[in-house]
Symmetry: C2
């Protein structure tokens, strides 16, 4: 699905090369599209960047580029995905998201109406997540040298003094909690891209996870890791964590939260839900004694309503993820090798 203007009725309907020139057309785009949506006092500085005050000296910094195809999908679009994704990466560092940047790479001919809709979704997602978009950049590439729109968001978050969330903290005796149903985003993108038309429309789970993180940090004394299992799914993410902490993690296939539509679609497509991307799922790893409390805190949030324990850290000295299967056996869940689904985010 190419979202460029099919027939250019007026050049003002579409992105032009001049919109990336830094000249009058660039300023017009900023004034008419970006400023009205993102408006805040920090964005109004007319600087090459934004100068702001941080209350804390411990900061988190992260970046992600978004190239999702298609740009619009059930449950969201590249705009809210780009805001939520970076907000979640900050949250998973234990940080309160403060400010975001937004860098756009537009293909000549991309619809300005679509751009406005995407920018509007970014503004709305930022508002919901309590974060401001304070600096930005736009580049335009010639037709055929891009793909409609790519967005980079980078973000800065504030880490409270006592917070120490790190993969290396994971240790035997910890449990792995998953905040909700897995696989929705990946299946949603794949079915939109290929127009698969499953009976039940599967919506992306894209959402900001800082609410969950903040509540957990307030209520639980010891949390070792937060992580949002995006590309590569929980299988790849748990492998990363097992590798960083040099531990063995065991998960239980029967206990994995997979919705009926995602399970059905995965079976039809021959995909394993453990490798399917999520954009609104939080993994929390913490000592078992805090598990019940954490679950009850999480279940107060719509995005944590279906939180469950999905696994345990069983030993150290060897980096491994193992899954108890439905049939009572056990198999190794290795890291995804290549690409299950390209351009999922």
């Amino acid at each position: 699905m190419k979202l460029s203007c099919p027939v250019i009725t007026s050049s003002s309907d579409c992105v032009l090369l001049g919109h990336g020139s830094g000249g009058r057309l660039s300023h017009q785009l900023v004034r008419e599209v970006f400023y009205p949506a993102f408006r805040n006092d920090l964005l109004d500085q007319d600087h090459d960047g934004c100068v702001f005050h941080s209350d804390t000296s411990k900061l988190a910094f992260t970046t992600d580029s978004y190239v999702v195809n298609p740009v619009f999908f059930p449950g969201g679009n590249i705009g809210d995905l780009a805001v939520n994704g970076t907000v979640n990466d900050l949250a998973c560092c234990g940080a309160k998201p403060m400010v975001l940047s937004a860098g756009f790479i537009l293909e000549e001919g991309f619809s300005l109406d679509h751009l406005k809709k995407i920018v509007g979704s970014m503004a709305e997602a930022a508002r919901k997540a309590g974060v401001r978009i304070v600096t930005g950049d736009t580049k335009v590439v010639e037709r055929g040298h891009g793909d409609g729109i790519f967005i980079n968001t980078s973000g800065i978050g504030a880490v409270s003094p006592g917070v120490d969330i790190r993969p290396a903290n994971v240790r035997p005796g910890d449990v792995v909690i998953c905040s909700g149903f897995i696989g929705a985003h990946g299946i949603c993108i794949l079915s939109s891209r290929e127009s698969l038309g499953f009976e039940t429309e599967i919506k992306s789970d894209t959402t900001a996870l800082y609410g969950l993180v903040a509540a957990l940090l307030t209520s639980i004394d010891e949390i070792h890791v937060f992580r949002d299992p995006t590309r590569g799914g929980i299988g790849t993410t748990l492998n990363e964590l097992a590798g960083a902490a040099n531990v063995e993690i065991e998960i239980d296939e029967a206990g994995l939260p997979v919705s009926a539509p995602v399970r059905a679609a995965s079976e039809i497509l021959g995909l394993d839900p453990v490798y399917i991307a999520n954009e609104g799922v939080l993994l929390v790893i913490l000592p078992e004694q805090f598990a019940e409390k954490a679950l009850s805190v999480m279940r107060n949030f719509p995005e944590g309503e279906h939180a469950v324990v999905i696994g345990h850290v069983v030993s150290s000295g060897q980096s491994l993820v193992r899954m108890k299967t439905y049939y009572g056996g056990s198999r190794i869940v290795s890291m995804l090798h290549g690409d299950q689904l390209p351009r999922i985010c």
Copy 2:
């Protein structure tokens, strides 16, 4: 100039879709290409982002995406350009650059050797500028949906308490200093792209400008603005500043620092040097009484050796840039309308 692998002798020579999957191939790319080049203690956190301590609470934050075509050009490549450009945007906020992020959007088939060379240039530019690349992201798009390589860098800088650099500070009585010869980057990119083969090779001026900024902040009591005139050249930048401060700026055509090769090339191409992009030029606006001191400070640096006063802020109440021409007349320098040279950075 497409820099993808012309003939794939081995898939290991080229970027594959799987390199953007978040799985094993992504990790391999990070381990073999990015980590060895960028290695520092902050990058080793295995987090979704980087957590670090800032000594100051006043921070600058900026972002830029780089889509320059061609990727390699005399004097640099997209890698050092991406580091220097973001370092310079921070410097122009009066900030000491601390940390950068790096987001890559690669086209399937892009040469891994070229990627390594680019990443090596980024590391070298970061080292020279005294900044660390602490977090990153890689996405891969299918052949024909990108253009080799796009890079986003975002950066955080520390602003000292007394520093207040803002376009709105500009006022009548100020002078405009230009750190050196203008137009080299734009002419370099255009001549490389079109293989124009001028008699004298014109190199990009890409360089980090924080050295100049730091020396000026230390030695001069009152500085109103720093700005690097990139896309749209000094003509567009001075219009932005005139607009932000609502002042009239007058520049003197005969006093503009334009090297003989750039002047010759501009005349052949019918381009006006005031609109040609720079990547290593600093404009400094400050009260006239500090001009001589500033010039002598700047001339101690290779990148400030040719610093000269190019104009004056003559009045307020009207936003305008005017140029005294060679022939004794005067003309208005308006903001560049569309695109003089697309994909210059």
